[in-house]
């Protein structure tokens, strides 16, 4: 049997493995005390005798499913089951780096008498999420300084700090003494260019969060800044990343190998996150039972208890990805995910067409 270029040891282990063991190797990642076992995908065609690992759409359609577990305007948790790690990871990577957003790219500082340096201020401005649907804009051409209505959003920040004459005489609180001494992202205002005022009238363009502190001013100091937001991707700069983070974890699977009773059961319960293990009363005996292994954080605490570590098996389901997408608020997370899928589709399309064109040559 041809077994790929894996460890000889692995091969020997596999050959000696029984049928159920092979299933485990194929489908589970085992959390050992000192290392993680079976980390790699091995179910490619021909690797296991008696398994048909050829890819077919029907099989994929049968196995594949997405369950949205929880969703609000910024966060989403969904399960993606029945897919290879490489594809799931591709979605994660695309979410982080390749779904475009609009962010401040060019900062024109006409006046900055504040304590914060021009470059640092510009960097801070860049990192502010701008609420604008990137699908409505085009990428700006390289070398284009001006920008047009189809590729640029213009924002303005013009603010000056003054003394508050209403302040009480002996006050020492800057909040009361000065006006405008804290510059927040809400002070950035949208200046439509061209026909943007009509086209994007109800898009409500501006910073997502109004309470991001940009700079602190003192009387006499002022900021006079014009910003150009352009479309870009996270690969280029983290400010274009549409997500705070996007990641996944594998579904934990905890199996009790023997019955655990009494004090041990109590201890076992404490070894896992709350809700993973519950205690049941079986005829006066307290017996531990796995309730919801999804809740476990995989701290492997149980492996520190010598008497318990053989009673449980810690594993994770290889093709069950619990995705969590935290949007920066520019686009809702579900849109982001579908955008990510579109990006991947476009890439595949491009790849196919490349293949076609090279075949012709």
């Amino acid at each position: 049997i041809y077994c790929g270029a894996y460890d000889v040891k692995d091969n020997i282990a596999k050959m000696a493995a029984t049928m159920s063991n092979v299933d485990e190797i194929r489908n589970r990642v085992i959390l050992g005390e000192f290392n993680v076992k079976n980390v790699h995908t091995t179910d490619y065609p021909g690797n296991y005798p008696g398994y048909d690992d050829t890819w077919s759409l029907q099989k994929f359609q049968k196995n594949f499913r997405i369950d949205v577990v929880q969703m609000d305007e910024t966060c989403m948790e969904f399960d993606m089951v029945g897919i290879d790690a490489s594809i799931a990871n591709a979605f994660r990577r695309i979410l982080l780096a390749e779904v475009p957003t609009m962010a401040v790219e060019k900062v024109f500082i006409y006046n900055n008498t504040s304590i914060i340096q021009d470059e640092v201020l510009a960097q801070r401005l860049g990192l502010i999420p701008i609420k604008a649907d990137p699908r409505l804009f085009e990428y700006r051409n390289a070398g284009d300084e001006e920008g047009t209505e189809i590729d640029t959003i213009q924002l303005q920040l013009k603010i000056k700090c003054t003394r508050n004459h209403q302040a009480t005489k002996d006050s020492a609180d800057p909040q009361e003494l000065y006006l405008n001494h804290m510059v927040y992202s809400k002070d950035m205002t949208w200046v439509p260019i061209g026909n943007q005022a009509d086209v994007l009238a109800d898009a409500n363009i501006g910073p997502v969060h109004g309470d991001i502190l940009l700079a602190k001013l003192r009387p006499g100091q002022e900021l006079d800044i014009v910003m150009h937001c352009v479309k870009g991707i996270g690969q280029d700069h983290a400010k274009f990343s549409p997500v705070a983070t996007a990641s996944y974890r594998l579904l934990p699977e905890i199996t009790l190998m023997k019955t655990v009773e009494g004090e041990k059961a109590e201890r076992l319960k404490r070894c896992f996150s709350p809700g993973v293990i519950e205690l049941e009363n079986h005829g006066g005996k307290v017996v531990a039972k796995v309730m919801n292994s999804r809740l476990d954080t995989c701290s492997r605490e149980v492996l520190r208890h010598d008497d318990l570590k053989n009673a449980v098996k810690l594993a994770r389901v290889r093709d069950h990805f619990i995705f969590s997408v935290e949007s920066t608020g520019i686009l809702p997370p579900d849109v982001l995910v579908s955008e990510a899928i579109k990006v991947l589709m476009a890439k595949c399309q491009r790849f196919l067409s490349e293949l076609d064109s090279s075949e012709m040559e």
Binding site: V29, L31, F34, N35, V36, K37, V39, H40, T41, A85, S86, A88, N89, A90, R92, R93, L96, A97, I109, N112, I115, Q117, D118, E119, V120, Q123, L127, G234, Q235, H237, A238, K239, S241, T245, A246, S247, Y248, R249, L250, S273, T297, C298, S299, R300, E301, R304, R316, S324, E326
Partner: protein, 1132 residues
């Protein structure tokens, strides 16, 4: 109740058995201590002592000036003061000045020294008050500094950082520190073995007037006195006789009447006998003949005997006072020296030179007082010279000395000494270099670390381990970790956190007290009592005070008196049982630190005292006054039983340590869990902490320094230490908390390289600002011309400024906010071509000619102009300072370090999506290779990571204080509570494949410092470029765009390999190939095909040789050596 015997300290069994309660939070004594003493306070105390007390003593010692020309004329100083720092606005108008103004305007922060004096003018006696004689640079935060007693608000109004420690000077705009100097203690007998194993004693005596060194040596069993004023070694018995102790019996009685002592001294007596010297006069004559001739100017001529007597009185053992040639005290001192040497012989009880009790530290005040006294004496002698010259001449106006008092001598003397660091005093033949250093403002810690630095006088090149190694007596006084590596290792040291250095104090009351406590005066003893086995000798600052029978009682009562506050808290008393001596010290420069007093097995400080301290009812002074805490110096520490912790207190314990972590200094105090690290790692971190960039002070943005590094987003460390809190490092941090994954990633992390996350850099991690300045002054010249700043030059065609002038304002100075590129002009200055006063008659008419001398920007990367300052300096010249700024994001090759001496350069920057991530979606900022751990053994870093991770999860800071801090167990329990692995190892998924990693990854936050070494400042390559004028070889060094040298060893490789053409190319063609014309007949160099020697061109051929070779030939010719080249065809 039964009271146990003396061996149990007179305690009841109950008292003995009672457990010692730990004093909770006794570290709180530390901030209280640091408020009054410690760290930079010693510099300030010492300077205060100088300008308030010592300077008056110096004036008293030199108060009267008389003239040889007129016996009636005199000048007498009545008083001397140092005022407050000010600056002369215009003639005779002054105004107070702030330190920051001095920094910006390149001035000296100094105050006038004024005197009250009485003098005669003609026949009048005149008293004048407040006459200035010079200016004294003022130490920041000293009693005469404008900053003392100000609130933080007032500090900020003066543009000064309230956290700045002070203790330095501002001279010509530069911040200068006078380093603490370590010296062997003066006026103490040190018994040593020389290289041959012979025992000898030496004393370095020092008084205000003189310094001398007296040696006692043994040659063939006989004792001799060696002194550099004597041309040969003088037998000790003759010295005794010369000092008036003529009878041999008396000599022996003073030295000791024990059998073996007498036996070893008898050869010396015999020698005296042989030399036929029996009387004082004979002895003085003998010595008079051995006196090395001194400079004989001035004074009446003396006989040899008189000379010898003078010498014995004033030069040998100068510190022992001799009044009217009563040598009694000196004889006894000499006898004690002899006795020490005799007792030390055989038993090997020699003193340890490196023992810290034998060391004294010289601070700014002491050094300045030496300098000032020198300058003051010079000033006075100048006045005397002037009066001698002018009084004899008859003048219309009466001679008034005030008109001849010049201020600049003292002012310049002080300023030059501090700004160059050269301390040369003729009086003591002292010529030291590098006494002062520029205060390093790289980070707050580097500035603070500089204030605690001690430099030793020992030569750096000598390869001896003794003075460099860590002495047990340095415990608690000097930081065991903080020392540089390399040549200065162990010679440059740093003070520990709680060390204080004493200043001189009056010893009159101490003498009185000692006599009242039963010390018998030496002058009343016959001499034999000195060696009685029942008595102890009592020394005060190196002088013999007398003897005491019950030394224990003396020491005990003395300490009681000190604790009760009757004598100064810094007076120390200690017994030396081997030498049978009691030493009392009140001199300056001793190291001491506070301890909690323990009585009857119980510390005197109780929890209630600490509570009162926290509530603010108590200060550290109260602890001292109520005898709860006292200062011990190194010698007294040796005499005490000090418990480190409460549970180690036993019946003999006399003192309790306040906190063990105070044995570390400022720099080592930043390291979390240093007690888990291998010790050299802590030393490395001490050096690296000074290079970390971050914040340097609240006034950092108002400063215009030559070089300043700031971090864009500094953070306080997740794992702090008590020291960090005490020295306000968390208010002025230098570093960021980076999430670190300890794993291998790519191949770009070998040899300690780090892998950085690109997204973290995008978001501001490790981003730093580099500030540089450009300076220019506009001078006025003697011929009434002056420098000018011209407006930008316009391009003729476009009427726009030319590119080089494009950032200039209309006034010819660049405008803030502009971007400057390489070679652009910052200030368009022009200077008159003629600056000298024209000779008479040839007066230049009309407009002077000007020549452009622009200040232009040099640098491979662009900068921005932060601000422009236009002011005037002390010489009333215009001063233009421009602050330039660069923002840099970390790039490959930039250096980072954790706080555990683990430095590394960035090897790779990886996009976030390629980074591994844990279940919660966190990806690391830094990936560090695990190979960094096993050989370095920095367990502290591992613990810092755990504590940091737990702290982040818990939302609080953990402590990694030395010998304490959060326990690993507690920290790990916290991790479990938040669902993380106990060991801090997380399940991590690869960002590249999306599959889990086989290993669990040690993952969590560690405080990382960005060090000042950045690729941008170092990278250098050259293809073509400038050449040196003399040799025509490529220049050297990056700053001159130099070539990369193919050195001797590289050359050897190529020779060995046989790559001759490559050699020729590297060494000549690419360097300094030169065509020369050589005459084949005479072998000399010719020019353009013509041999000047042969006056022909027939044998001239052209060769290619290195220009340096041609130069050598010509230089040889200039030395009358003729190198001749023999030419032959290669195929012949």
């Amino acid at each position: 109740m039964e009271i146990l015997g003396d061996e149990f300290g007179g305690m009841t069994p109950q008292q003995l058995a009672a457990p010692v309660n730990t004093i909770e939070e006794k570290w709180k004594l530390l901030p209280a201590f640091l408020k009054v003493k410690g760290l930079v306070k010693q510099h300030i105390d010492s300077f205060n002592y100088f300008i308030n007390v010592e300077i008056k003593k110096i004036m008293k010692a030199n108060e009267k000036i008389t003239s040889d020309a007129d016996p009636m004329w005199y000048l007498k100083y009545l008083n001397i003061y140092v005022g407050m720092p000010d600056v002369e606005e215009s003639f005779n108008v002054t105004r107070p000045v702030s330190p920051h103004e001095c920094r910006l305007r390149d001035m000296t922060y100094s105050a006038p020294i004024t005197v009250d004096m009485e003098y005669t003018r003609g026949s009048q006696r005149i008293i004048r008050n407040a006459l200035p004689i010079g200016r004294m640079p003022i130490m920041l935060r000293s009693s005469n500094c404008v900053l003392t007693g100000k609130t933080p608000m007032e500090y900020s109004k003066l543009n000064e950082c309230p956290l700045d420690p002070g203790g330095y000077f501002i001279v010509k705009g530069q911040e200068k520190v006078i380093l603490i100097q370590e010296q062997l203690s003066k006026n103490r007998i040190i018994v040593e073995q020389d290289r041959k194993g012979a025992v000898g004693a030496s004393v370095t005596s020092s008084t205000h007037e003189k310094k001398s060194r007296t040696n006692m040596i043994v040659k063939q069993g006989r004792f001799y006195l060696r002194h550099n004023t004597l041309s040969e070694d003088a037998p000790i018995a003759i010295i005794f006789k010369a000092m008036g102790v003529e009878s041999d019996q008396e000599i022996v009685q003073m030295i000791g009447t024990e059998e073996h002592v007498m036996a070893s001294f008898s050869p010396s007596l015999e020698e005296c006998q042989k030399a036929q010297i029996f009387t004082q006069i004979q002895a003085l004559k003998y010595i008079g003949n051995k006196v090395r001739r001194q400079r004989m100017w001035g004074g009446p001529k003396k006989t040899k005997m008189e000379e010898a007597r003078e010498l014995l009185a004033s030069l040998i053992l100068t510190h022992v006072p001799v009044k009217e040639f009563n040598f009694r005290a000196k004889c006894i001192y000499l006898a004690v020296m002899v006795r020490r040497v005799i007792l030390a012989q055989g038993e090997n009880k020699v003193d340890d030179r490196d023992y810290y009790g034998n060391k004294r530290l010289e601070l700014a005040g002491q050094l300045l007082s030496l300098l000032f006294e020198d300058l003051f004496k010079k000033f006075n002698s100048e006045l005397k010279k002037i009066s001698d010259q002018i009084i004899p001449k008859q003048r219309a106006a009466q001679f008034d000395i005030v008109k001849h008092m010049r201020q600049d001598q003292i002012t310049n003397g002080m300023v030059n000494a501090i700004s160059t660091g050269n301390w040369s005093l003729k009086r003591f033949k002292m010529d030291r270099q590098g006494v002062t250093q520029v205060l390093s403002r790289l980070s707050f810690i580097s500035a603070l670390g500089m204030m605690t630095r001690i430099s030793s006088q020992f030569e750096k090149t000598r390869k001896v381990s003794g003075p460099r190694s860590l002495q047990p007596s340095q415990w608690g006084m000097l930081c065991p970790s903080d020392t540089p590596e390399g040549e200065a290792c162990g010679l440059v040291k740093n003070l520990a956190l709680m060390t204080h250095i004493t200043t001189d104090m009056e010893d009159g009351p101490i003498v009185k007290l000692a006599f009242n406590l039963g010390v018998e005066d030496v002058n009343l003893l016959c001499g034999e009592e000195l060696s009685y086995p029942s008595v102890f000798l009592v020394f005060l600052n190196g002088n013999i005070l007398g003897v005491i029978r019950d030394h224990q009682r003396l020491v005990y009562t003395f300490r009681l008196m000190r604790r009760a506050g009757f004598i100064n808290e810094f007076v120390s008393i200690s017994t030396n049982l081997t030498d049978r001596c009691v030493y009392i010290s009140s001199d300056g420069g001793r190291l001491c630190r506070p301890y909690i007093i323990v009585k009857k097995g119980q510390p005197m400080v109780k929890n209630k005292h600490i509570e009162e301290l926290t509530q603010g009812y108590r200060t550290f002074e109260d602890f001292l006054h109520e005898s709860l805490v006292e200062y011990l110096d190194v010698n007294e520490e040796n005499d005490c039983q000090i418990a480190l912790y409460e549970h180690t207190i036993n019946k003999d314990t006399t003192h309790l340590e306040i906190e063990p972590f105070t044995l570390l200094g400022v720099c080592a105090g930043l390291i979390p869990y240093p007690h888990h690290n291998q010790s050299p790692r802590n030393t490395y971190q001490c050096a690296m902490g000074k290079q970390a960039m971050g914040t340097i002070g609240y006034n950092q943005r108002n400063r215009i320094d030559t070089l300043m590094y700031l971090l864009a987003y500094p953070q306080k460390p997740m794992v702090k230490t008590r020291t960090i809190e005490l020295i306000d490092f968390e208010k002025l941090p230098a570093g960021q908390n980076a999430t670190v994954a300890v794993m291998s990633y790519s191949g770009y992390d070998i040899e300690d390289a780090l892998v950085l996350n690109k997204a973290s850099l995008d978001r501001g991690f490790g981003r730093c600002l580099v500030y540089k300045n450009a300076k220019c002054t506009l001078r006025r010249y003697t011929n009434q011309t002056f420098d000018k700043v011209m407006g930008p030059m316009l391009d003729a065609a476009t009427r726009k400024p030319i590119w080089r002038h494009s950032i200039l304002d209309a006034d010819g100075i660049c405008s803030p906010g502009e971007k400057v590129e390489n070679k652009q002009v910052l200030v368009n200055k022009s200077m008159p071509t003629v600056t000298q006063t024209p000779l008479e008659g040839s007066a230049q008419p009309g407009q002077p000619q000007y020549r452009d001398v622009p200040v232009s920007y040099k640098g491979s990367t662009d900068s921005y102009i932060e601000k422009v300052m236009i002011s005037s300096n002390a010489d009333d010249a215009f001063l233009i300072k421009i602050l330039l700024r660069q923002t840099r994001r970390p790039e490959i090759g930039d250096k980072f370090s954790s706080r555990h001496g683990q430095k590394g350069v960035c090897g790779l920057i990886v996009p976030q999506e390629d980074m591994p991530f844990c279940d919660t979606g966190i990806c690391p900022d830094i990936i560090m290779n695990p190979h960094g751990y096993p050989s370095r053994m920095t367990v502290g870093k591992l613990i810092e990571l755990l504590a940091g991770k737990a702290g982040v999860l818990d939302g609080r800071f953990h402590y990694g204080t030395a010998f304490g801090g959060s326990k690993v167990k507690d920290v790990c329990e916290d991790l479990i509570r938040y669902g993380y692995n106990y060991q801090g190892k997380d399940y991590v998924t690869s960002g590249i494949t999306g599959e889990p990693l086989e290993a669990y990854i040690y993952f969590g936050p560690v405080y990382y410092q960005k060090l000042k070494h950045m690729v941008l400042d170092k990278m250098h390559a050259r293809a073509r470029g400038p050449r040196a004028v003399l040799t025509r070889q490529p220049t050297e060094g990056r700053s001159r765009d130099g070539g990369l040298r193919l050195g001797e060893m590289e050359r050897d490789c190529l020779i060995g390999y046989g790559a001759s053409m490559l050699l020729l190319e590297r060494l000549m063609i690419s360097s300094d190939a030169f065509e020369v014309d050589v005459c084949g007949q005479c072998g000399l160099l010719g020019y353009s095909g013509w041999c000047h020697y042969c006056k022909s061109s027939c044998h001239v051929s052209s060769l290619r040789i290195p220009y340096a070779c041609k130069l050598l030939f010509q230089e040889l010719q200039s030395m009358n050596i003729v190198p001749r080249l023999k030419l032959a065809r290669y195929n012949e």
